[in-house]
């Protein structure tokens, strides 16, 4: 294969200027400096097509059907509509590879992945795409199989694409964060790897995402971006190191602590005492994390840790943006049985949605269509006042089952008390 003449790329060349690292310079390194002519030509062709897009303000990639043997998912097929003009990147598929929970890598492993990718692909990679996958961008149909076969042998598997369980995401969590109330890595792997078959073989109404954040700061954007959000929290009192509180007050001043900590508490659960210690109304603390963020050395999560589960978050298409809704205010996650309970909840949810969701309907959209109560009955979860901001405002509802429901409520309260006592 001979080296091809370079396409002119005046618009892209402009993106080599300026102080931020330039992706275009990287493409050009592949075009000009890589020892493999296949990669030189592919990068040249890609630059040519991208310049064409910049000129015409249009995209020129079409989807299609490409998958590796045994899977129906994990590849984003891309065929060029202008392949005659830019033939060396005519097929430019992406492999979505699942990262380790928490996105940890050694340099050795990154090198090994890079070596495999340059053998079979374009040499372009992103850590990570918006769903959370490692994106190996640009290879032929044959290349997808060869690259997958190679990296699959040393521990890497494809993620989801299409109507299936998607690659999960978890925050840095317990590995490096004092705010963590979960074992995020374990949760991520227990949940995702229970659904490996649903990741690789798309057979659901639409995508289904799990995300794990270790606290209410929700660094993984789980509530808004996942169908099943697992957020760390605690039930007992937050921990206060009063000596450290005094140090903050001494350093920042009472006025600052009052204005930026006490007054910013959303439930007015904080007060600064005359001796510069902090008074916390733990019954009204909603674990929002603000004061812990500001005074992270003085304030910490409590010991009775667990998770809040929210379901149904998604972006705009089709009915508009939806946040997740609280489905389980608190679940302990200490024992293997606790984890099994959570897996069962996810299985019930996915089964019910697979049965009742319309084509291309996210779980949250289904909940919107059928109502939260029907969904809860479908997955076998009792109602809880933590699921709503406020009770209904409209009287237009049939309520002839009231007495039974009230009895159910008191019975479940009594059971809860018994369980707590026993």
């Amino acid at each position: 294969m001979a080296k091809k003449q370079h396409y002119d790329t005046p618009m892209l060349d402009d993106l080599e200027n300026g102080p931020w690292p330039s992706f275009i310079s990287g493409f050009k390194r592949l075009r000009d400096e890589h020892p493999d002519e296949r990669i030189n030509n592919m990068a040249n062709s890609l630059l040519g097509q991208l310049e064409h897009s910049y000129e015409t303000r249009k995209g020129y990639w079409k989807g299609g059907t490409v998958s590796v043997f045994g899977y129906g998912s994990g590849i984003i097929p891309r065929f060029s509509e202008v392949g005659d003009e830019f033939p060396e990147s005519r097929e430019f598929h992406t492999l979505r590879v699942q990262p380790p929970a928490g996105n940890y890598y050694t340099t050795d492993m990154l090198r090994q992945l890079g070596d495999s990718w340059e053998k079979h692909g374009s040499g372009l990679v992103t850590f990570h795409g918006q769903t959370g996958n490692i994106m190996f961008i640009g290879t032929t149909t044959d290349g997808t199989q060869h690259f997958f076969d190679e990296v699959n042998e040393y521990g890497w598997d494809l993620g989801g694409a299409g109507p299936c369980v998607r690659t999960g995401m978890s925050c840095v969590g317990a590995a490096r964060c004092e705010q963590s109330s979960l074992d995020e890595m374990k949760l991520h792997r227990v949940m995702l790897n229970n659904f490996t078959d649903d990741v690789h073989r798309p057979a659901l109404p639409y995508k289904f995402k799990f995300k794990v954040s270790g606290c209410g700061n929700d660094c993984m954007n789980a509530i808004e971006r996942s169908d099943f959000a697992i957020i760390g929290t605690w039930r007992d009192d937050m921990k206060v190191d009063q000596e450290e509180v005094k140090k903050y007050v001494a350093k920042k001043g009472r006025e600052y602590i009052t204005e930026y900590v006490i007054n910013m508490c959303p439930t007015q659960a904080l007060a600064l005492n005359d001796d510069d210690t902090l008074n916390v109304d733990n019954r009204n603390c909603v674990r929002c994390m603000h004061c812990l963020n500001v005074m992270n050395k003085a304030l910490s999560p409590g010991d009775d840790k667990g998770a809040t589960i929210l379901m149904g978050g998604k972006r705009t298409l089709k009915i508009g943006d939806l946040m997740g809704t609280v489905i389980m205010p608190f679940i302990k996650l200490d024992t293997e049985e606790d984890y099994e309970r959570l897996v069962e909840l996810a299985e019930e949810t996915i089964d019910f949605w697979a049965e009742n969701g319309l084509e291309h309907e996210r779980c949250g959209e289904m909940i919107e269509r059928i109502g939260l109560v029907n969904f809860l009955e479908g997955i076998g979860v009792d109602v809880d006042p933590n699921m709503v901001n406020e009770p209904r405002q409209s009287s237009y509802v049939r309520m002839d089952g009231w007495d039974d429901e009230a009895i159910k409520w008191f019975e479940s309260k009594a059971e809860g008390k018994q369980a707590a006592a026993g």
Binding site: A101, G102, V125, F127, D157, L158, E178
Partner: protein
């Protein structure tokens, strides 16, 4: 010719512990607090006294293997060989001693990487694929981000903002970029142009009809061929029909515009998580540097920086000062398009005498 196929090993999500820095492994779940020694550097201290230092850097996100190897080499020479990536694609190097931090920073900066993106900075814009790889994009992603980060680099490197600023871009109205304090998203302004010759061959027509959020698409016979037609009075130009039916071309060199949204916040800190709200639209989709979009973003950042209190995210700030003042301070026009008419829109109307004068 029959080919021998290798069966996949369905290993799923790999265990991260094998790639984790030993100090993090040892202190898993046992961290006491963290400090911010300087922008781009975190120091986490475990209850037992161990400390881990993290150096965070911005990159071009789409890495060529040369850049990937360079990042690895820096990690081996100046770090401990352990790396992770943040949600916004910043790279993080973890090292076990303070002495390694400055040489690591110097090495990264010498190669053009940018140290920062922590605490109250404008961190890396999280973005999508755009013209580089997506099948439905109205704009590019990497190019928009490169052009904007060139201008916002000092905000990435510093701690100049009242609180952290998360920005996102999206190349279509599906909005894969997600919610952001500031989001720069494609907004189409004209209905799709339909190639009726192709529709019946390429599109599963009932699915396309079902995909429309406002029921503006119906089956029709055009030039004797089964096709689809759009009620252009109902059409909201969202482009939802384009992915399942590429002959319904929504992207247009002139009429595909950019819009800017603010106040999306995923965190539960202080208020509950919030969605972003429209503030500016009609911004030209202007490669290679999109200067008009960057100008709007800088206007918003300037007003936020000058007027917000410490710890207020953009949504917190606007909630305190009110939307009329936001438009006043940013100099952006308020138009009829800012008034929502989608389902549930009534909750966005002011039904009170709460008005700031």
């Amino acid at each position: 010719m029959a080919q021998e196929h290798r069966s996949p090993i369905e290993s799923g999500c790999p265990d991260g512990f094998q790639y984790m820095h030993p100090v993090m492994r040892k202190n898993y779940g046992d961290w006491a607090y963290h400090e911010d020694p300087r922008p781009g550097v975190l120091k986490h201290v475990a209850r037992g006294g161990d400390a881990i230092y993290t150096v965070r850097a911005g990159t071009q996100r789409i890495l060529d293997v040369f850049t990937l190897r360079k990042l690895c080499e820096i990690g081996d020479t100046h770090g401990d060989g352990y790396i992770r990536f943040t949600l916004r694609s910043n790279i993080e190097y973890m090292v076990d001693s303070e002495a390694k931090v400055e040489p690591l920073i110097k090495a990264l900066e010498a190669e053009g990487f940018v140290i920062g993106g922590t605490k109250n900075s404008v961190t890396m814009i999280s973005h999508t694929q755009g013209w580089l790889h997506c099948d439905i994009p109205g704009t590019d992603a990497s190019g928009v981000v490169k052009a904007m980060m060139d201008e916002l680099i000092d905000e990435f490197k510093g701690w100049n903002m009242p609180n952290r600023v998360h920005m996102t871009t999206s190349c279509c109205q599906i909005n894969c970029g997600g919610q952001g304090d500031i989001a720069i998203n494609v907004q189409h302004t004209k209905p799709p142009k339909i190639n009726h010759d192709l529709v019946s061959n390429v599109c599963e027509r009932p699915s396309v009809v079902a995909r429309c959020p406002v029921a503006a698409i119906r089956p029709a016979l055009v030039n004797g061929k089964p096709s689809l037609e759009v009620d252009e009075k109902k059409c909201i130009c969202c482009g939802a029909c384009f992915p399942p039916c590429p002959p319904m071309q929504i992207n247009d060199a002139e009429h595909t515009k950019l819009a800017v949204w603010v106040g999306g916040n995923h965190s539960n800190a202080r208020g509950k998580p919030t969605f972003q709200k429209l503030v500016a639209a009609g911004i030209p989709n202007n490669p290679p540097r999109w200067p008009e979009a960057t100008a709007v973003v800088k206007q918003i950042l300037k007003a936020y920086k000058e007027d917000a209190k410490d710890w207020e995210r953009i949504n917190d700030w606007i909630e305190r000062i009110g939307w009329p003042r936001f438009f006043e301070l940013t100099g952006l026009p308020f138009t009829k398009y800012h008034i929502d008419n989608w389902r549930g829109a009534r909750r966005s109307l002011n039904s009170s005498t709460h008005i700031r004068f």
